[in-house]
Symmetry: C2
Subunit: 479 residues, 2 copies
């Protein structure tokens, strides 16, 4: 299913370049793209780190006063500028009024999380009642599996990716063991085909068709953390449902990155963290989605008083009366000091839409890709699954290879490109770090670069590629 988007973002880019009489690899083209970016101004809502402030930059190699190149929004998003102000309001409230802060101020600690459900819902295509914001992602996944994974001797399996994010893998493994089943037989791990790096959507569907009757829960990531591959959530969800499975999604790398319509797609449950594309700070509260069709479910749950509806919560009579919808899954009272970053972040999202954000992201990621391909052209065919548009590889391509593992089909990826190299990755990564290109290395073998469309510009991508090139050359010499 390559090339499902029309016009292909690369064709769009080329058309714009032609219209401007510019070469796509020219810095002027990046500058032009920034000048017509309808959400380019949102970068001003973030604290974009400077070269000199990053602890490991080599200031002899870069201009200390320039912005770094931040390609790490898929790991930890940048700080929204309003965060400090909102945080200081809460700090001040505690300092001045102690316990009164529970019910006063902009973010009353007793219900601050509920204030975010509607806006968070818009980001993932959900109704307010379908959303809770609490705990960490994996904790939420456990709470959901406690409800949705109720194995029976004939339906006891969970379908996951063979290289699922470790936390998901461990969570699912432990849930299977909790119910006395054996992960060896109960955990189906869907793999790429021999010699391939991406999982084919058709293979997921075939597996569901084949084993669906014994699968209790299909639990995949919306966007694969390592390869950046985006799975087809509505199709897979429908396939799971047709076999009587529940279908839940880890949206850590999807929320705020690609368009989601969880309600419309009838997804049973989903969870995501808010520290990546949602820019709410390290380990901040995670999202929790429960489809409205399950709002009054009587599934097993791990209960706590914060899931009790508010009007009788403090009657202290120990008669369980749950909130409706996702909020009934809350357990403990929420950490008020995690509210300010979520507030600051959601306010930025409210200035745009996921549709607009995704439109920019498609162009920006395609732009980064084409720069890599022009420089290291002729590479990445097999794993990338897309023929290069050009054969005129850069002068260095004979020495160094760069593979883009991420699908070339824009519909099958978000902001991230996962790169592997013919030179030692550790060296490339260190050289990038010296040059203030913030990205991350994931074992065993990729560097992930994610130009997050909320605050990354086309010039960032251009500069990033220049530094990548320098880094590869330097790494090749170390080698």
């Amino acid at each position: 299913s390559n090339g499902t988007l029309t016009p292909h973002p690369l064709d769009q880019l080329e058309e714009i370049a032609r219209g401007q009489g510019l070469d796509i690899t020219d810095r002027k083209f990046a500058e032009y793209m920034d000048s017509i970016d309808p959400i380019g101004h949102l970068r001003e809502d973030f604290c974009y780190p400077k070269m000199k402030d990053l602890p490991k930059t080599d200031l002899s190699l870069v201009n200390p006063d320039e912005d770094c190149v931040y390609f790490c929004g898929n790991s930890l998003g940048l700080c929204p500028k309003k965060f400090k102000e909102y945080m200081l309001m809460e700090v001040d409230k505690w300092m001045k009024t102690g316990v009164e802060g529970h019910t006063s101020g902009d973010l009353p600690w007793a219900w601050f999380d509920e204030l975010f459900c509607e806006d968070m819902g818009k980001i993932v295509g959900a109704k307010k009642e379908e959303i809770a914001i609490m705990n960490g992602l994996t904790v939420n996944l456990h709470l959901q599996l406690i409800s949705f994974y109720r194995p029976t001797p004939t339906r006891y399996k969970i379908l996951i990716e063979s290289k699922a994010f470790p936390s998901d893998h461990y969570a699912i493994e432990s849930q299977i063991e909790l119910h006395g089943y054996d992960p060896k037989t109960a955990m189906i791990q869907i793999k790429p085909r021999e010699g391939e790096q991406l999982i084919r959507g058709e293979d997921i569907l075939a597996k569901i068709e084949e084993e669906g009757d014994s699968i209790a829960v299909v639990c995949l990531s919306g966007t694969q953390y390592y390869t950046g591959q985006v799975f087809d959530i509505p199709t897979i969800t429908k396939a799971g449902h047709s076999k009587g499975c529940y279908v839940g999604w880890d949206l850590a790398h999807s929320a705020g990155n690609v368009e989601l319509h969880l309600n419309e797609w009838e997804v049973d449950f989903a969870c995501w963290c808010t520290y990546k594309y949602l820019n709410s700070g390290a380990g901040c509260l995670a999202g929790f989605f429960l489809h409205e069709k399950h709002k009054d479910n009587t599934f097993p749950k791990l209960r706590g008083w914060w899931g009790h509806k508010l009007d009788t919560r403090f009657k202290m009579d120990n008669e369980w009366a749950p909130c409706v919808g996702a909020l009934q899954y809350r357990i403990s009272n929420g950490p008020g000091f995690l509210g300010p970053s979520i507030k600051a972040s959601l306010e930025v999202f409210k200035k745009t839409s996921m549709k607009e954000l995704r439109a920019k992201s498609l162009l920006l990621t395609a732009y980064l890709e084409v720069l890599i391909q022009r420089k290291y052209g002729g590479r990445g065919k097999v794993t990338n699954g897309r023929e290069n548009g050009t054969q005129n590889g850069g002068e260095d391509w004979k020495q160094v290879h760069v593979d883009i593992i991420t699908p070339s089909d824009p519909a099958q990826r978000g902001a991230q490109l996962s790169l592997s190299f013919s030179v030692p990755i550790q060296h490339v990564f260190e050289e990038l770090t010296k040059r203030g290109v913030v990205c991350d290395e994931r074992k065993p073998n990729v560097i992930r670069m994610a130009p997050a469309p909320l605050y990354c510009s086309f010039v960032d991508a251009y500069r990033g590629l220049e530094y990548l090139d320098q880094s590869i050359q330097a790494a090749a010499k170390i080698n």
Copy 2:
């Protein structure tokens, strides 16, 4: 088991008063007590709210510039002064360096929680490896019950208090249901005797003796949130063990309040919040204790990548290799912005010891009690379980009664006194609020006052009682 402490703190107070030629009800006595308080200066480490800053104070009734009377440290502790500075350091780190903050600065977000385990351990009498700091209290309780509650047809019960804190009640009820048992038969709720308000320790021991063979887990609170009663953790733990039960404790109202020796007492597991006597802010990360004897247990668990040992955590090979001890129960990566308050709080605790804090607390609570008794003498005999030392009730005692529900035995209580009144409690509470006495009302029928020894003075107790008296008089008039 009344009067187990010698000398009784009330006798100590009276001796000091005699030595100074002061009446114990005289403000001068409170001032003298403050002058000899070895930890009185620690009040300066906290932001003590002013009358004028509290949203509901009636400034015609009090001096706006005076400190309020903060008796609510059992609900939400006061803000340590260093908090703001430490928070701003983390905010700044995110603003300037993005993802680099995970591994840099004073509180690297990737492991800030581990930095606190040793100091937290000292507060509860545990070794560093026995402690984790994560999630909310009730979430932690669930994680522990997943491991320790493994019901069998012959041993499937959980012993709790009949009026356990609602969240504990719901958590335990839901755990029982998760395993397919019926809370009606599997949840044993130990009650006070007919006509009494406190649970007798001997009744708990008798119940364990009687039903212990079918009890899987004894799960009580160390300090009862409503009555303020402190249970005898070592004796009950031993009794449970002798019957083959696991014994775990909710220490929400015990941690930072009374002396604990969890390791020595062989407690299996315990959890507590840090927002009460530990002053770490609303809904902040909770404590988790796992006795070292269980450090390598193979009990069922809800796993996540943060419980994986650090050296291979990022190998991403999905081969589970847990941390040793409590940390293996971590699931999600921790919220870095909850670190600063814990740091600021623990630094204050390091300037004293639980022994010293408890010594002051015994005197301070006894002082508040004796003021109440002198004013409303002759009341509270039945529920308080201690004969009043004096019969000269205040002039108003014929009109208004105040009952102290909390045990009079200092060994059986911490900083909190739970009061009930012969006038409508809601009116008393509102009048107290107008006068800047911060305490809380708990349904159905008490006002809880907790002079936390870290920042409350004897003069606070004196002033609190004056305001209480005014409030009762005003409430009696409304009535």
